[in-house]
């Protein structure tokens, strides 16, 4: 049984994503403890391989099938690689790519899979894994037994610096870059990419604001948005929101904070009626100060907030508007 840890690298617009460095850093730690290597798989953008110097080997492909993200092509490539490399552990993120690939690998390679992982440690022959569950209200302690495993890790849980070659003090391309031979792997694909649509730029840039008023499903209805808009206007802050409000069409996509929206780092993030699901936290947990208003004292948002209150958001908004407009 090998002791290698294999990471699926993710990139977007010609850049490796932060979570890739987070995973590579963690992989390094786990591989060093177990006497194994760190393998990174980089599909589509071979030119980025030199940034993955913390890995021992970077396995690349420039095959046109993986030039843009294609769920089935990625899956086939990853199954092909792990069957040959037989790593001890595969790390992916919980992004779209991570969800598609980790689940398929778990069936085809077969290996146990833990998702929403926030921590993974060696525990004798097993892996001890902590996962975020039930919208962040609980943590699950899981043991993954057997000779191999897969963890899909939530972004932002491990330091990215550990995986960046320049920070971790490992010379560029410390590792080898190997081109994968994927001859025949993509024959008869049932998925093809017809088009890639980039998100529209919004009327306001919520990533540039020092103060954000952000609203969630606790607002109840579209009509109620008026009161928080009034507060945002009074404060001279843009109005941001959690995903469900965007999906309902109540606010434009450019106002969405979170995993599938924008990452914001304002001085103050005022969260009104937002529960603090892991996907939302990914986008705002690095704000300088978070002030959260939620009537549920157990809402996970309070675990990342600096200040919290369980008063009703409508009462609070009224009182704030009064004071700011004075």
């Amino acid at each position: 049984m090998g002791n290698d840890v294999l990471v699926l690298a993710e990139h977007r617009n010609g850049r490796l994503s932060d979570v890739t460095f987070e995973l590579v850093g963690k992989a390094r730690e786990l591989a060093d403890r177990g006497g194994g290597r760190v393998l990174a798989v980089l599909l589509g953008e071979t030119s980025l391989a030199h940034e993955l110097g913390v890995a021992d080997v970077v396995l690349c492909s420039e095959d046109p099938a993986v030039a843009t993200y294609n769920a089935q092509a990625y899956e086939r490539a990853m199954v092909h690689v792990v069957e040959r490399q037989q790593p001890r552990l595969v790390l992916t993120s919980t992004t779209t790519v991570g969800m598609d690939v980790s689940t398929a690998l778990s069936v085809h390679w077969p290996a146990p899979l833990a998702s929403y992982v926030v921590d993974v440690r060696r525990d004798g022959e097993d892996l001890a894994v902590t996962c975020r569950a039930y919208g962040g209200k609980l943590l699950a302690e899981v043991a993954l037994t057997g000779p191999r495993a897969i963890c899909a890790v939530i972004a932002g849980c491990f330091p990215a610096a550990d995986g960046r070659s320049e920070v971790a003090g490992r010379s560029e391309v410390a590792g080898q870059v190997e081109l994968l031979d994927l001859e025949g792997v993509f024959d008869g694909l049932g998925v093809s990419v017809a088009q890639v649509v980039e998100p529209e730029k919004g009327d306001v840039d919520i990533t540039a604001a020092d103060l954000l008023v952000s609203v969630g499903r606790g607002i109840g209805s579209r009509e109620n948005l008026e009161v928080v808009q009034e507060l945002a206007d009074a404060l001279g802050a843009p109005l941001a929101a959690s995903r469900p409000l965007i999906d309902q069409g109540w606010l434009p996509k450019a106002r969405q904070v979170g995993k599938s929206g924008l990452t914001v780092r304002p001085k103050v993030y005022l969260a009104l009626g937002i529960s603090g699901a892991p996907e939302h936290l990914e986008g705002m947990q690095h704000a300088e100060t978070v002030i959260a208003c939620n009537t549920d004292p157990k809402a996970p948002i309070f675990d990342v907030a600096t200040y919290g209150t369980t008063v009703d958001l409508f009462d609070l908004t009224d009182e704030l508007v009064k004071r700011v407009q004075e």
Partner: protein, 257 residues
């Protein structure tokens, strides 16, 4: 075209999550169970597809607490049939086993599309769409925000990190994990749900508890996150809290004077 929508119940996350005595599961007898919100989105997208063309829509669920109400609601919204898979189903059912049970039923069915929620609050061993697609050996796409289908092909809008959307052409049959339907899930009145209930539209089918479980995934216990990083709670009513917040904003130079 035949569309299957797989739905399941999860605990209502707004409520206090009581645990069982051994701490390995939430107390399913005690908790209020509601439909997984992403499964509701999947159902909506399925209904939109059905209305856009000539399709039959079947909704399927495992026999879990309070699932009848969800199946009746689906019928009231326009599903053509509701299937409840029965067997030895108690407690937390991991996604691998859920996928195996659904796959064993689906293998005897004709279907073009399986739609289900992209994730659920308790799918700790992975999300259903990928597991089910892989078990059925058909293409699978997660985080879909729109699906169109005709002539053995589907067009799927798949959202990546940061909001980039890839539009995929997918050969059917396929399994799609729906993040959001093209429109908000429709509302159905209690009286319509009651009607569906009275006409008794749920068909029960017994399935063999497939062996494809996850013995190598052992859930040791569930715990509340440590309060270490917890917020400082501001005391008082809305007025006092507002005073404190304005003070904080002022200290950071974010409100005038």
């Amino acid at each position: 075209m035949r569309i299957v929508v797989a739905v399941k119940q999860i605990p209502d996350l707004v409520e206090e999550l009581e645990l069982t005595a051994d701490g390995t599961d939430v107390d399913r007898e005690l908790l209020k169970m509601v439909v997984n919100e992403f499964d509701d989105q999947a159902l909506e997208e399925g209904l939109c597809l059905k209305e856009a063309g000539d399709a039959e829509l079947v909704v399927v669920a495992l026999d879990e607490p309070d699932v009848d109400q969800t199946l009746h609601a689906a019928l009231a919204k326009g599903a053509d049939a509701a299937i409840k898979l029965t067997g030895a189903l108690t407690g937390w059912i991991d996604s691998h086993r859920r996928a195996a049970l659904l796959a064993s039923w689906l293998s005897g069915q004709s279907f073009d599309l399986v739609l289900t929620g992209v994730q659920a609050a308790d799918d700790l061993d992975g999300q259903l769409p990928g597991l089910l697609g892989a078990q059925l050996e058909v293409p699978h796409i997660s985080v879909a925000v729109r699906v169109e289908a005709e002539d053995g092909m589907a067009k799927v809008w798949q959202e990546l990190a940061g909001g980039t959307v890839v539009v995929d052409e997918v050969r059917l049959p396929a399994v799609i994990g729906v993040q959001a339907a093209r429109q908000a899930p429709r509302y159905v009145s209690i009286s319509r749900i009651r009607q569906a209930q009275q006409s008794g539209g749920i068909t029960e089918v017994e399935v063999q508890a497939a062996e494809l479980g996850t013995e190598q995934f052992a859930l040791r216990r569930l715990v509340a996150p440590e309060a270490a990083g917890h917020a400082e709670m501001l005391a008082g009513g809305a007025g006092e809290v507002a005073d404190r917040i304005v003070e904080l904003l002022r200290a950071k130079g974010l409100v005038r004077s």
